[in-house]
């Protein structure tokens, strides 16, 4: 491989913006090196020089992808346990057209579990890193790799992960992908690194869907979990709400008002094939998939009032499962499919209830406050996230279902539509900031929040897709 194409991260390579964002400086200053997981006893102190180096790595390593993207991730909080990691530029990644190492760095930082140290240097998965030097930079782990164009036009993307503290090779992988999947390959590498070092499955290669609005143009979009690589699933001049991923990640159900009222549609994301699956008299809304993907719960007003019904995924075999004169809506299945959590105002104010998916007597779940809506369940169905109103503030709140303990996890006041990441470690939600609808992610304890920055458009109705695609 030719050496002259190997470009060390620098201003010329990526043309970063002139002035650093204040958020990054704050973030670095608050990092706490005492609590890193792999840290050896002889912890180097965070000197001003080291901070400067880290700032350089952030500027050159994270912004380039951001500049090209519709969305940018801005980390607004800092957690206590972040693992310092080096991620060097991958050999020949310039030739692939994607900053693979930049995507890996941004993913790891956004998870809140990692801090990227000065990563200047050039080598690949076959190199033997100079571990003392990397220990000197404060790294506990190190990732490098390469991107080579194959004869058939695909790229062979490889990486290796090292434990810098022990000087150990922690393994690697080779992924042969088409150009359109280079971002996906980078996310898969970040997932592998995350899983190896934290023990939890990563969600960087998953997808999210959300709705944007510009004037009277509504767009249902599908993007990588970092909000980038966006593709359009549906354009409409009428509102689109309540997207829901099928468990296999292949379809989106959603509510579109294109026919002059709320109708539930199901669309194959890859082919664009779509069908109106609930188009009864009155309003049809709030689709939720059963875990096996065979059944949808929806809210219909076809018999008067808003009540919850089940139907098969094609829209047939419709049966009513709630029987009240109140509003019953926003159904969501537990991961075993046996229960449905939903919102009802049968007690005089909207609260979250649960009922057997075969029907029966509902049981009330939320008791504090007089407005608790939009339930979302963690993948293991042990945690509930919902929107709680307190005065004029609507806030994302979590409840440990077995203990009933609740916790407010957002610092914003117009929150909507929480949705768990498939590893259960993050919640994505919509809120308002500076007069715009924006999306945020938060860890379950609310300590690390990131904002998906949009360029002046309203973004709402996020839903996190499943593992795999």
């Amino acid at each position: 491989m030719t050496r002259q194409l190997t470009i060390i991260d620098g201003p010329l390579a990526y043309n970063p913006p002139a002035s650093p964002r204040p958020g990054h400086g704050t973030r670095i200053a608050e990092a706490n090196p005492q609590q890193f997981m792999l840290r050896t006893p002889e912890t180097p102190e965070s000197s001003p020089r080291r901070r400067l180096l880290m700032a350089g790595a952030l500027v050159t390593g994270i912004w380039p992808a951001a500049l090209r993207a519709q969305f940018r991730v801005e980390i607004t909080g800092v957690g206590g346990t972040q693992l310092p990691i080096g991620v060097t530029r991958f050999r020949d990644e310039d030739k692939s057209g994607q900053s693979i190492s930049g995507i890996v760095r941004a993913d790891l930082e956004r998870s809140g579990a990692f801090r990227v140290v000065d990563s200047a240097g050039e080598f690949d998965e076959n190199s033997r890193p100079a571990f003392p030097e990397w220990r000197g930079r404060g790294a506990d782990a190190l990732v490098s790799g390469s991107a080579a164009r194959l004869a058939d036009g695909r790229f062979d993307v490889r990486y290796k992960l090292w434990d810098v503290v022990r000087g150990q090779d922690l393994g690697g992988q080779a992924l042969a992908v088409v150009t359109a999947d280079l971002r996906l390959a980078a996310h898969r590498i970040a997932d592998a690194v995350y899983e190896k070092l934290t023990g939890d499955k990563g969600v960087f290669s998953t997808r999210i869907a959300y709705v944007t609005r510009v004037a009277n143009r509504y767009t249902l979009r599908v993007t990588d979990a970092d909000g980038e690589g966006g593709q359009v699933a549906l354009n409409s001049t009428q509102p689109i709400i309540s997207p829901a991923w099928s468990p296999d990640g292949k379809s989106l159900a959603y509510v579109s008002f294109e026919s002059g009222k709320a109708v539930v549609w199901s669309q194959d994301v890859s082919t664009g094939e779509r069908r109106a699956i609930a188009n009864f008299r009155g309003s049809n809304s709030a689709p939720a998939w059963s875990p096996d993907g065979r059944t949808l719960a929806v809210t219909l007003s076809r018999e008067g009032g808003s009540q919850i019904y089940l139907m098969d995924a094609g829209g047939n075999n419709v049966r009513r499962i709630t029987q009240s004169s109140a509003i019953d809506t926003e159904p969501v299945f537990t991961s075993d499919g046996k229960l449905i959590y939903f919102v009802s105002d049968r007690g005089g104010s909207p609260q979250i209830y649960r009922v057997a998916s075969s029907g029966g007597n509902p049981e009330r779940v939320t008791f504090a406050g007089n407005y608790n809506i939009s339930p979302a369940l963690s993948p293991d169905s042990r945690m509930l996230a919902y929107v709680a109103r307190n005065g004029n503030e609507f806030k994302i709140t979590t409840m440990d279902i077995s203990s009933g303990n609740v916790r407010t996890v957002s610092d914003t006041v117009d929150d909507e539509s929480p949705s768990f990441a498939p590893n259960g470690k993050l919640i994505i939600y919509a809120t308002r900031s500076q007069g715009r609808d924006v999306l945020m992610t938060t860890t379950l304890d609310g300590r690390i929040r990131t904002r998906l920055l949009s360029s002046g458009i309203d973004v709402r109705e996020p839903i996190w897709g499943p593992f795999g695609r």
Binding site: G97, G153, Q231, F257, S270, S306, P350, R469
Partner: protein, 180 residues
């Protein structure tokens, strides 16, 4: 360096243009049910570097819906906060529409319920539905028949006033009566 960047940009632009060409663009007259996707997209495999890969998404465009809002002066009923009770001042309006429906059984209307922006989209959709159904029930008591009226809701999705204060919210808590 500059040359390399330009080359990469051109490659990216090419990929973007190729992507546009494979998107589904339905013209405005296309039916909204069972929209046809482009059969050339979605075959998400193959070794071509420009292929959609595992990340392919096909775009569907749906056409402009009819916007009747401008023609509805004098056909709007407003509600108090957190209420779906028909206020006395709107009873004459509702009665006149009910009489018209009663006199012409072939006539049909849609009642659209709306809410202000506070709170969740789905719960507001249900609240708007409740308002529309309250108006529909009043009209049926006055001689209109069930088959002549469809009550639907836009929830908070279509505010009449885009403001964020009580004056705007009062204009948005409404039901609109529309001929069909």
């Amino acid at each position: 360096m500059t040359t390399l960047r330009i080359t990469l940009s051109a490659a990216v632009l090419g990929a973007v243009l190729a992507g546009c060409g494979s998107s589904v663009k339905l013209d405005e007259a296309a039916p909204v049910v069972d929209a046809r996707p482009n059969p050339n997209t979605g075959a998400a495999s193959g070794a071509r570097p420009g292929a959609a890969g595992q990340s392919g998404v096909t775009t569907v465009d749906v056409g402009k819906g009819s916007d009747l809002a401008a023609s509805n002066l004098g056909r709007v009923v407003y509600f108090d906060f957190d209420s779906y009770v028909l206020r006395d001042e709107y009873k004459p309006l509702v009665e006149s529409h009910a009489r018209a429906l009663s006199a012409a059984k072939s006539k049909k209307i849609v009642i659209e319920g709306h809410t202000d922006e506070r709170g969740g989209r789905e719960y507001n959709l249900a609240l708007g539905q409740r308002r529309a159904e309250a108006v529909a029930k009043s009209m049926m008591l006055l001689g209109a028949t069930d088959g002549q009226i469809e009550a639907v809701s836009y929830g908070k999705e279509r505010p009449a006033n885009e403001g964020h204060d009580e004056a705007a919210w009062a204009k948005n808590r409404r039901a609109e009566l529309k001929d069909r």
